[in-house]
């Protein structure tokens, strides 16, 4: 218990936000796509992904490759195959309902009105086809149709299937409490075991019911019968109540509305809880999973050095860090994501012993510091001073044996440099870069850069960093 508390205390506030944010994103996916085929396929893909992780951890190389390939191809297939369903989900909702709204099943289909209307039409021998989609997307099975989006009323159903209405031969599709499409053309069944008195409406109803999980109500124009097609069955219905029950059963509408609301609430709560558990599991497996170690050599940055001082020497240029974390995170750590900064604001002129603590080390999230070598760094600071130094040309190469460098002048003869006081006290001469003699003869002018040694020296502002040499070479007497 104590371990658990210590572990929770070691988590940062960013970690809690990380888990909450991703849990909410997952929960929103559930809310938006629940009941669709996309959701079911996504669950399948998630199971495959877990299977792949297990295969990797067990060292099943080929299996993990195959599953990885299936997951990758599956992701593309989802987008291509279910593009209509995805578009429908996203188009049907505004931004607020995508980010916040909870229920997409709030519209309850008025089954009583539909049953009344259907038997009324049957009584008057007015033919009709009414489709109640299940969980499957019908866009591939149904052709044509006119968007309607009208609230379901007895008068509206009667008018849609009125003989003089241009869309009365097609099917009406019911979505929630609306008729979303009218005049839709359904696929015809080619079964040869159907009674001869079944007309095109019956074959259309069976065709769609056979191909999808939709429920289709047929009102026979000739016989005034009411039939319900579901799966590969077409059954006659004689009672309004029976028809109502069929529709309610198909749509999952509970007789007890309070129980239905409670069930919906529990479903949402369970989904929210599962999202948190799932994301927390992933978070722990990624950030606190297998304890992998890595060693990195990181150069030390020295900050907040007092003005007028400079670093003369340090005991080390870089420190070795041993880092730990989950395999995935540790493998992705690069040296540029890690920094070691030593604050020199309290350092004094002379030798300073500074210890490296976790405060000096910046690490990517989820990575822990195990060891620092060395833990102590010696930094020697010096006062920055300026000094005017004579320049000496570093001649190199070889003159012809009969020639002699008689004289040369250079400008400037001295150059001002800046550097540590202790260093500059020991330096009496600045040397130029090597100036080759090989191709020189007679009179001439050349320039040479100044070589600063040690490299901590700097040319003082306003001073030149090179000299101009005017030489005179003559024949030996």
């Amino acid at each position: 218990m104590e371990k658990l508390i210590n572990f929770l205390l070691s988590m940062r506030w960013q970690d809690f936000i990380d888990i909450c944010l991703n849990s909410y994103i997952l929960f929103r996916f559930y809310v938006l796509f629940r009941g669709t085929n996309v959701f079911r396929v996504l669950i399948g893909m998630t199971v495959l992904w877990f299977f792949q992780r297990i295969a990797i951890s067990l060292g099943l190389i080929v299996t993990s490759w195959v599953v990885q390939g299936i997951v990758a191809v599956g992701a593309i297939i989802i987008i291509v195959v279910f593009r209509n369903e995805i578009r429908r989900v996203l188009q049907a909702k505004n931004l607020k309902s995508i980010l916040w709204g909870l229920s997409s099943k709030s519209a309850i289909t008025p089954t009583e009105i539909i049953a009344d209307s259907v038997f009324d039409m049957a009584h008057r021998k007015c033919g009709g086809l009414i489709v109640f989609p299940g969980k499957e997307d019908l866009s591939d099975a149904v052709q044509g149709g006119i968007p309607w989006k009208g609230m379901i009323t007895r008068e509206m159903i009667t008018s849609i299937f009125w003989q003089d209405n241009p869309v009365h031969d097609g099917a009406a599709i019911v979505q929630g409490d609306q008729i979303s499409v009218v005049g839709a053309i359904l696929p015809l069944s080619h079964r040869d075991d159907l009674p001869s008195y079944y007309g095109t409406r019956h074959r259309a109803a069976l065709g769609l019911a056979d191909a999808t999980d939709a429920l289709v109500i047929v009102v026979s124009e000739e016989r005034g019968d009411v039939l319900v097609a579901k799966g590969n069955r077409l059954r006659a219905i004689r009672q309004k109540r029976t028809l109502e029950q069929h529709i309610q059963e198909h749509l999952g509408i509970a007789a007890d509305k309070k129980a239905a609301v409670r069930k919906g609430g529990l479903e949402i709560a369970a989904a929210a809880l599962l999202s948190i558990v799932f994301i927390t599991g992933i978070w722990f497996s990624v950030s606190r999973g297998q304890d992998t170690l890595v060693s990195l050599d990181i150069p030390v940055d020295y900050t907040n050095r007092a003005t007028g001082t400079e670093i003369v020497s340090t005991s080390v240029k870089s420190v070795s860090l041993v880092l730990s974390g989950s395999g995935a995170l540790v493998k992705s750590v690069t040296p540029d994501q890690v920094s070691v900064r030593l604050d020199l604001s309290s350092a004094v002129i002379g030798s300073n012993s500074l210890s490296i603590t976790t405060d000096n080390i910046s690490l990517p999230p989820g990575i822990l510091l195990r060891e620092v070598t060395p833990e102590l760094i010696e930094v020697v600071l010096d006062e920055t001073v300026k000094k005017q130094l004579p320049v000496q040309i570093d001649w190199a190469g070889k003159l012809s044996p009969e020639l002699i460098l008689l004289d040369f002048t250079m400008s400037p003869e001295t150059i001002e440099v800046m550097g540590g006081k202790q260093i500059l006290e020991k330096i009496t001469t600045l040397y130029s870069e090597k100036v080759p003699l090989d191709n020189l003869s007679g009179k001439g002018e050349i320039t040479a850069k100044i070589v600063l040694n040690p490299t901590t020296l700097k040319i003082a502002p306003g001073s030149k960093d090179k000299v101009t040499i005017q030489y005179l070479i003559q024949k030996r007497e």
Partner: protein, 99 residues
């Protein structure tokens, strides 16, 4: 700086000596010399002391010289600081030893 001193006169004055030559000579002339004085020719190869040669000056006017033998390892910039007994720098001569 010269390659040699002949009859108390510098011969072949130069700023660059080939390591193939025998020696480099630092010739110094003091005028006037009020009293017998000791001076030093301090030879430095890239700021590292290489030789310290004591010389005596006599009134009223005196020239004197010191030299070093040149070897392949002597390649690089050199200077000769001429100082008095107390270490005061009286003059600096610079030259290079090349291939």
């Amino acid at each position: 700086m010269c390659e040699e001193v002949v009859d108390n006169t510098p011969s072949n004055p130069t700023m660059v000596f080939s390591a193939g030559k025998e020696k480099a000579v630092c010739f110094s002339l003091f005028d006037p010399v009020p009293q017998k004085t000791v001076i030093y020719h301090n030879w430095y190869h890239r700021d590292i002391p290489s030789a310290r040669i004591q010389l005596t000056l006599n009134p009223p006017r005196w020239s004197t010289h010191s030299s070093i033998q040149l070897r392949k390892t002597d390649i690089g910039p050199w200077r000769v600081e001429i100082t008095n007994e107390k270490g005061k720098v009286l003059g600096v001569l610079r030259f290079s030893v090349t291939d």
